[in-house]
Symmetry: C2
């Protein structure tokens, strides 16, 4: 019989299709033979040497003696306008607002043919550093209520540009999806006197069934009621409400964790398309006892939108415990550069 | 500047991309030359003559002297099991439940090559009649909390079977998506003393800007804060909480309305893939003052899941007012059979 599980953080119920569940390796992406991706493309606006093809304003640039490593530029086709004020209007019961906000692109690397799963840990740390700096700058904007950092990898995940990049959006309202999570977290805190994310983490650590990877400061696991196959959450062990609070040491450790999880997906599921997003408390809420920032990674390995849209419920055709076991077992070669950093972070030889 | 609008019924904020908005006709589906669909396929389990290919139990069959017109059978690969009891379990803070429930398939017509947009009004009424009868039967099941009727048309909408069909799911819990709508509706009723759906309908009737089609008992319109292009809601004018309360006269009128709206999508947007769903109050809530059943039709004419998943906000690249105008203007030929029924329903010649 299928099993229904409730995702405590979103309150969604998901059907875990125990009987129809596929084997983990059946979710691997099927890729048709394609020409290899070149390391530079003349018409790619994000490639090294093509900086003139991006908007003139450079919001942030992280460089070393090799040139720039990570750049942030305004989105050329922004969903929200960075100019103007928040103006509310009502028409009868309807409410609208001027579409002000921030929409930036983080160009993750000068090379066209790379992806986070294959980057060195220091390169991933550079990206995370840039995320943190932009977060800290953007939150000073009084028009902003919430900042979400996200990445679309591959066409199924909604990107049209091949060059590795992520996006930062800052909205003049709190999206209802975030508001619902906050409300649930407050209710749990009121009832139980602790953070629902901390409690979830403690229970996962005890059960050990759904853990994908652990580092000193982070734990990556498949949620008990994962809404889709191989959905992974990365939680910081230290309770803090916003990504901007991350320390330098934690950034390096998160780079190690994120790269490891994405590499496990890359090698275990044949470079699947995926989205990830970094969720924090709304900018004005500051440090709270009830909300805990986290990263959600959603591989696009199954399609089932019809049932979900219709019924309001999710079906997951992978057992969270089996998916976690499968990812735990994926091994990959670590470069010497990364091995030295891992030794530094863990005190152990890899 | 883009405009943010709030969808009062879901509380989602949507970005109406006023500047980047496409012209309505740019959303038409692009279909490559394909062989015409045959009216019968030997290996199709839903075709007339192939009844032995569906599960043995026939839940409902509506026939006339031509043979069966609409059949209901159990889903061969049900997401929920129809046998067994609701058994709750907890593991620490986690909650789970046995996956009992109902998952049925409504075979809408004996012919393989047809779609609701092209069916006669009486044929559509047959389908709606069957929906109502199954709804009334299923709600007697004490394990059921919510019943959702939905349809996936085309691959983008999540179906793999070409033969026209829809699905009925009945769940042993109330999906959080429905619960959120209920909570909003209750809050509006407490604040304003009226049903949010009735109020929305009154405002749309007054504005007239987003109306797609009106019949005696139903109004089809594009929501003020439509989450995606050409999203259409059909609201009954009479306040009632559940689809099962629909009368025979209203069924014929809804058949006219649904067929007309789907035909406008079919001809105006080149037979786009779409989902629709019929949402009612949870089965135990009975007749309420705050909730109003409705149909949501979501054409799958744009892809933008990356931004939505990441930011929790929607982007709509079509102006609701323009989309409504476009659909209002789509004309199509009405058969004599339908013309007679329309005359009966409206008192006017068509």
């Amino acid at each position: 019989m299928p099993e229904l599980r409730q995702n405590l953080i979103t309150r969604d119920w998901v059907i875990i299709a125990t009987e129809r569940a596929k084997r983990p390796d059946q979710f691997a992406a099927i890729r048709t033979e394609a020409p290899p991706i070149p390391c530079y493309k003349e018409d790619c606006p994000f490639c090294f040497g093509n900086e003139h093809r991006t908007p003139e304003i450079e919001l942030l640039c992280l460089s070393d003696d090799r040139g720039w490593r990570v750049r942030v530029v305004p989105n050329k086709y922004p969903a929200l306008s960075c100019l103007g004020e928040r103006v509310r209007k009502t028409e009868g019961i309807y409410r609208s607002m001027s579409g002000v906000g921030i929409h930036e692109v983080v160009i993750e690397h000068p090379r066209h043919d790379i992806t986070i799963a294959l980057l060195s840990i220091p390169d991933v740390a550079n990206i995370l550093n840039v995320y943190r700096q932009r977060y800290r700058d953007i939150r000073k904007d009084p028009r902003i209520e919430a900042i979400v950092i996200f990445k679309n990898h591959g066409q199924e995940a909604g990107t049209s540009l091949e060059h590795p990049h992520s996006q930062i959006t800052a909205t003049p309202i709190v999206p209802s999806q975030i508001r619902i999570r906050i409300e649930e977290a407050i209710r749990f805190f009121d009832d139980m006197g602790e953070c629902i994310f901390c409690r979830t983490l403690a229970q996962e650590m005890e059960a050990q069934e759904r853990i994908v990877f652990e580092s000193k400061h982070f734990v990556a696991f498949i949620p008990y009621a994962a809404l889709s196959p191989f959905h992974v959450w990365i939680f910081p062990r230290r309770h803090t409400s916003s990504f901007e609070d991350i320390t330098d040491v934690e950034i390096l450790d998160l780079a190690y964790t994120l790269k490891t999880v994405l590499a496990k997906l890359y090698y275990g599921l044949n470079n699947p398309d995926y989205n990830y997003s970094i969720r924090s408390v709304p900018t004005r809420d500051g440090q709270t006892s009830y909300f805990h920032w986290y990263i959600a990674i959603i591989p696009r390995v199954s399609k089932s939108a019809g049932f979900e849209l219709g019924s309001g419920m999710y079906i997951n055709t992978a057992m969270p415990e089996d998916s976690a076991q499968y990812l735990r077992d994926v091994q990959f070669v670590v470069t010497n550069e990364d091995a030295n950093i891992i030794k530094l972070l863990t005190g152990k030889e890899k």
